[in-house]
């Protein structure tokens, strides 16, 4: 065990810090969940790409830097230290990118990865359907083979980024006779294809970050299928593993929130309850614990190990931590918690963050599903319904 950074790692940190201090927007961007904010965030993706900081863990041949996981953690720490915006390209960097690298043909890699790295094409995910949320194997949207094309008909929903993004990915039923996990195929599609209707869904805060997608005989070339017809479930499971695993939420994000929470506490110390003070201290401890665990998992992966069902523990931990930190902030703010803008005109980021934190235990596999996975695959308890 060596918990110190090498001189090279320290130099790398200094390099990231210098770039971020120069380039991170001084004012927080407008929320990603509206046209204006989306455009600002895409512009930021292109700024990141201009410094080659967009996809730091990707191999250089696909437009990345080929960094190892410790360097990635250092990058993320500095990114959040500098107050870097949320990533419009999240679905590409951590979900689809690694999936294409694992399952894609050389042609697919060359076609899709570099524009993703340059921030030119922003991707939306299209997993859920009205009848297939936590139970993703209940998917019904069909893709029927017709010559060199699939013809897609059906509906997807809760599709993150889809209100404004360029391309989407999801799984579709290519074998009409199939049931559950079989007969599904992973397909990439241009969101501007004829036959696709996007209906933005107004979220509880009033903005429209995700959307419903209606497919009416949408023709998609067969070469947009990943890993072959009928392999969709396996590909989707690998993708979901990337999402829940190490990289969806790096610790820097929560350590930055914990730091802001300490500052908020200090500014409101006189009116704060002892319970809120303890919650602030607890938040710092939990954010640190999450960071230590991530460093430990990164070291394990770098030594050739894999992250499996432990990813569910991560997802439960960070999502419930994030909600707890923002709940504490709302308590500390007291009457001001309800203000969308404070008296000085600044946006109440704690309120926005609290509302967003409520989605954390739901998206990327609800925490109830994660607890089932933990109980069944890590602890070895019998599956639900097994007699």
């Amino acid at each position: 065990m060596d918990l110190s950074y090498t001189p090279e790692q320290q130099a790398f940190r200094a390099e990231v810090r210098a770039w971020m201090e120069t380039h991170v927007p001084k004012e927080p961007l407008v929320t990603l969940e509206c046209r204006e904010g989306y455009d600002q965030h895409v512009a930021w993706e292109r700024t990141l790409a201009s410094g080659n900081w967009g996809m730091v863990t990707w191999p250089e041949e696909f437009g990345g830097r080929g960094l190892d996981l410790i360097q990635w953690l250092i990058f993320e720490e500095e990114y959040f230290r500098a107050g870097g915006p949320n990533r419009a390209n999240q679905n590409g960097i951590f979900l689809l990118g690694p999936t294409i690298m694992e399952f894609g043909t050389p042609e697919q890699k060359a076609r899709f990865l570099p524009p993703m790295a340059r921030g030119e094409v922003i991707w939306a995910q299209a997993w859920s359907e009205p009848g297939a949320g936590s139970d993703m194997a209940a998917i019904q949207s069909k893709a029927v083979r017709d010559g060199d094309h699939y013809v897609i008909t059906g509906q997807k929903t809760w599709s993150s980024r889809a209100a404004f993004a360029d391309w989407g990915f999801g799984i579709f039923r290519t074998d009409p006779e199939s049931k559950r996990h079989k007969g599904l195929t992973f397909i990439l599609f241009d969101l501007n294809s004829p036959g696709i209707t996007r209906r933005p869904i107004r979220q509880l805060h009033g903005d429209t970050g995700f959307a419903e997608l209606f497919f009416d005989e949408v023709r998609v070339p067969v070469e947009n299928c990943l890993a072959g017809e009928g392999q969709g479930w396996n590909v989707a499971m690998a993708t979901a593993g990337f999402e829940r695993g190490l990289m969806l939420r790096s610790p820097g994000r929560f350590q930055a929130t914990a730091k802001r929470l300490v500052e908020l506490y200090k500014a409101n110390a006189e009116s704060a309850s002892p319970a809120a003070r303890e919650a602030v201290v607890q938040a710092w401890g939990a954010a640190q614990a999450y960071a230590y665990n991530t460093y430990a998992v990164a070291a394990k992966i770098m030594a050739g190990g894999k992250i499996g069902a432990e990813a569910s523990l991560n997802k439960i931990f960070w999502s419930e931590l994030d909600r707890a930190m923002h709940r504490t902030a709302m308590q500390l703010l007291g009457a001001a918690a309800e203000l969308k803008r404070f008296a000085d005109g600044s946006v109440n980021q704690w309120l926005e963050g609290y509302i967003f934190s409520l989605s954390g235990p739901i998206y990327a596999g609800s925490n109830e599903v994660q607890r089932n996975i933990t109980a069944e695959r890590l602890l070895g308890l019998p599956r639900v319904g097994a007699g």
């Binding site: 918990l3 201290v281 401890g285 665990n293 607890r371 933990t374 109980a375 070895g380 308890l381 097994a386």
Partner: protein, 309 residues
Amino acid sequence: MDFRFSDDQLTLAESVRDYLAGTHGPEVLRRLDAEGNRDPAIWQGLADMGLTGLLVPEAQGGLGMGLVEAALIAAECGRACLAEPLVDSALVGVPWLVARGQTDGLDEVVAGTRRITVPHPINPWLADSEGAALTSVDPLRNLAVAEATEADDLLLNVGALMSAAQLVGLADAMLTQAVEYAKVRTQFGQPVGAFQGLKHQLASCSVAIEFAKPVVWRAAQALEDGLASACVHVSHAKLAASDAAMLTAETAIQVHGAMGYTYEVDLHFWMKRSWALCGAWGSRAFHYRRVEEALLGGAQPIGPEHTFA
């Protein structure tokens, strides 16, 4: 930067785990409880394994290991609910003496003929100490009043760290016991462990334990490296490990149902040790305040760039 144990460290921990699993099962705890709590043969076995000399310098015949190895072994002692005072003596008393240069007579410690229990004002009583006897809820803890004059911080930190390490081992063992019971106990025509009401509680224990462990290992390395911030990391570890152990103890008894309330089920030995260690070497309030003061007072740098610095 490499947050992993070495293969040697893992092999050592595994060999201790196997040894204790083979020689120190629940039936031994029951026998000890019935027959006076201590058994010289168990102690001699630990000495023969080299564990009494784990932290004794090689010049005095020990293995000369450090606090990271010691924390790993303490966790195994917790997992086995070891009653003998190996942790207090070999993993807390010895490193404190070594740090002070008091290495005379450590060869007797290695041989198993001498035990060291060092009092500290934060502990009004200690297991296997010399004073007037007290009765602990933990039937295997030979508790006695301990008078201390010196409030040494290193001693306190090592004691708290090793308590935290034992607590994660205890929590692991309690979770395993609850899971094994939930697999075999059937009601309504299925194992009770198939019910999500139990699964989700047990999964929450798993989360608490798995995120307490790296805090304990980080504290061990910080203390081994002599970092000025080590006291904050030790207190953080004691809090995280205590909370994980208390949650797991309460969940484990709930999962066992009425059986969990009996002497017949093994769980109570681990649960009672957890209660005892949560308050030993600094209460939750003591350790919470140490973290709070460092954090809110500004001594502990915070933010994403300060994971390890």
